[in-house]
Symmetry: C2
Subunit: 375 residues, 2 copies
């Protein structure tokens, strides 16, 4: 084959729905010397990662750790470990990731009932309650932070519904962890998954998960084997727990990155970090108004790390995003599913949530819209 030259990726400012920009110290951590996955020095790093994850998630859950895959592997981990064939599962869906949860649950052999709500709005809990129809379920699943629409969901009513259904509560927290307040124990979340490439500002590649003692009881007492060997928590517990038994070779250098990313989150402080995300989201929305652009999601249902913006009539979605990338080295996201061509998704996540980036994004949009409107 022809000779390939060493890669030299351009430095973008990542203001899409993730990945987000990575702090220099996280990049440096990832390039530290690789250790063996059973090296005592690495086992100590694993313990610190778990302790820091618990602190960030406000939980005492013993079973809190990163899975060796991206966020979707975290979703699959929750489903394959908690569901056995024939189980009844109730899912609230108001975006891509609710729909994906339903699909993954079906592939686990679950009988899935889906309550569909409109995209771009929080899901009305009464829709889910009506879909439940007074029956029992093994699992109720809802997206806390819908990355496809920028909607934040209050989990309290869903915990109540899960109680009515005698069910575990599972939440997708991919875009909320370390950007919004997340309090697993206080909220009674039994299982959750996230990703590293959003408000944690670490490259993609790991999926933090956490399980309440009640959820742990469910997967440790299964009657059937977990369909995924790779994601089987009963096997993985042997490695992340005291036994330190080999299961698979952990992604060592990715875990270095997560260690540093979590350290930065705790150094900043959770309250300060959530406030920073809120402050810059508000600043962005204010600036968008000056460009006659409006957010899709009502203010009290809106994520702060991710803002969905309505694309005005007559504006070419792809051309605007290309302009931002080519002239400003700024990436923003397009819409997914029914929002394709209808919405931009602007992420101000983790390291990326800054006044500088708000200004840069607005300047880029202004220039792109001027080009379009002038044309």
């Amino acid at each position: 084959m022809t000779t390939v030259t060493p890669l030299n990726p351009p430095r973008r400012t990542l203001l899409g729905p993730g990945p987000s920009d990575v702090p220099a110290s996280v990049s440096r951590a990832m390039s530290a010397p690789t250790l063996g996955h059973l090296d005592p020095a690495f086992l100590a790093i694993m313990d610190e990662i778990r302790a820091m994850l618990r602190a960030v998630l406000l939980t005492d859950n013993e079973w809190t750790m990163p899975m060796s895959g991206t966020g979707s592997a975290g979703m699959e981990t929750c489903m394959v470990n908690l569901i056995e064939p024939g189980d009844d599962v109730l899912i609230g869906s108001h975006g891509v990731f609710g729909g994906r949860m339903a699909e993954v649950a079906r592939r686990c052999g679950a009988n899935v009932v889906v309550a569909e709500g409109p995209w771009g709005r929080a899901l009305d809990p009464e829709l889910l309650r009506a879909a439940a129809g007074g029956k029992s379920f093994k699992l109720v699943a809802i997206v806390h932070a819908e990355t496809s629409t920028g909607v934040l969901q209050d989990l309290a009513p869903f915990r109540a519904i899960a109680d009515e259904c005698d069910a575990l509560l599972l939440a997708d927290m991919v875009t909320s962890v370390a950007g919004h307040r997340v309090a697993l124990d206080e909220w009674g979340v039994d299982a959750m998954y996230s990703g590293t490439q959003k408000c944690l500002s670490c490259p993609p590649g790991l999926a933090p998960v956490s399980f309440s003692p009640r959820a742990v009881e469910v997967f440790t007492k299964r009657k059937t084997p977990v369909q995924s060997w790779y994601l089987d928590l009963n096997l993985l517990g042997g490695y992340w727990g005291e036994q330190r038994a080999y299961h698979h070779t952990a992604p060592i250098n990715m875990l270095y990155g997560l260690h540093e990313a979590l350290r930065l989150v705790l150094e900043e402080g959770l309250e300060a970090r959530w406030a920073r995300h809120a402050r810059h989201a508000a600043m962005l929305v204010e600036g968008l108004a000056e460009l006659d652009l409006e957010p899709i999601v009502p203010a009290d249902e809106r994520l702060t790390p991710l803002t969905a913006v309505r694309i005005p009539d007559g504006i070419d979605d792809a051309a605007v995003r290309r302009h931002l990338l080519q002239h400003f080295d700024v990436e923003i996201g397009g819409g997914l599913g029914p929002m394709k061509g209808q919405a931009w998704r602007i992420g101000l996540m983790g390291e990326g949530s800054s006044e500088r980036n708000v200004a840069l994004c607005l300047a880029g949009l202004k220039s792109a819209l001027a080009e379009q409107r002038g044309a």
Copy 2:
């Protein structure tokens, strides 16, 4: 929680069964700026990775790409995509990874027939032929490079058996790729998986896989959905193929590392790299003899990247490995399964296959044995 200090992992020399030492330029590549997973600059990098993987595997297989997980996720990818519930699968097992393949295939609902051979020896093809009993199978699976024992398996007789059974041939090549000759098309391998942390000398976190057109036909014409959404090749093809549709967020920086690692392999040249692994393995075995240590595997069945060494009577396995780690910063591996306490596994893989490392390992072993024998 108490304050966590930034990590500062010691620099080991990794001479176990993987991970192996990572070249400086691979570490640098991994710390390059993160791009979005749909950025045109990243899509170009993906294409180069696929082209280089094909060159390293000596294949024209269109479906050649890294999965977003470690080697075991590669194994699971092959199984969940090729197997449908009720399929008959024939597996040769002579170590941990043959046994793992059988377990993963069972979790896919396959009827699994296992031909067990003794650990530390190549598997006698007649054992597999006898187990087949003249019946048809969907899949015949065998480990090309058994990481648990250091055995290399000639695949030609297994291709013949697969033909007799009207089956696809799947091979575990985790420890052979880029260390031993691997020639997928010439050998008629229909499906394979590997890991990045062995002879490719990239940190763990990705699993290269490749599928022949015949294997692709099997998973594109399935009657049932793939049980893993995360590893579903029919969905992933939309991202790695021309459509560039979002499936999951690829582990961008890990892929940077793989890009550079593959580039280094091709820069060195495949023939030269295989010869280097053979040369240093021979040098190691010669030096071991001077310490009265002998390899477990007969010379003509032995992997060159990984040598299993019999632990002499009266020698404390763990104490020797601890001595190497503490006094020489050298990691070697212990035995797995029935070989626990019976064998050390010494890896000279990728970057780690050097005269310097042979000398260092032998010096460390000599010192550790002297301590034990003097005690």
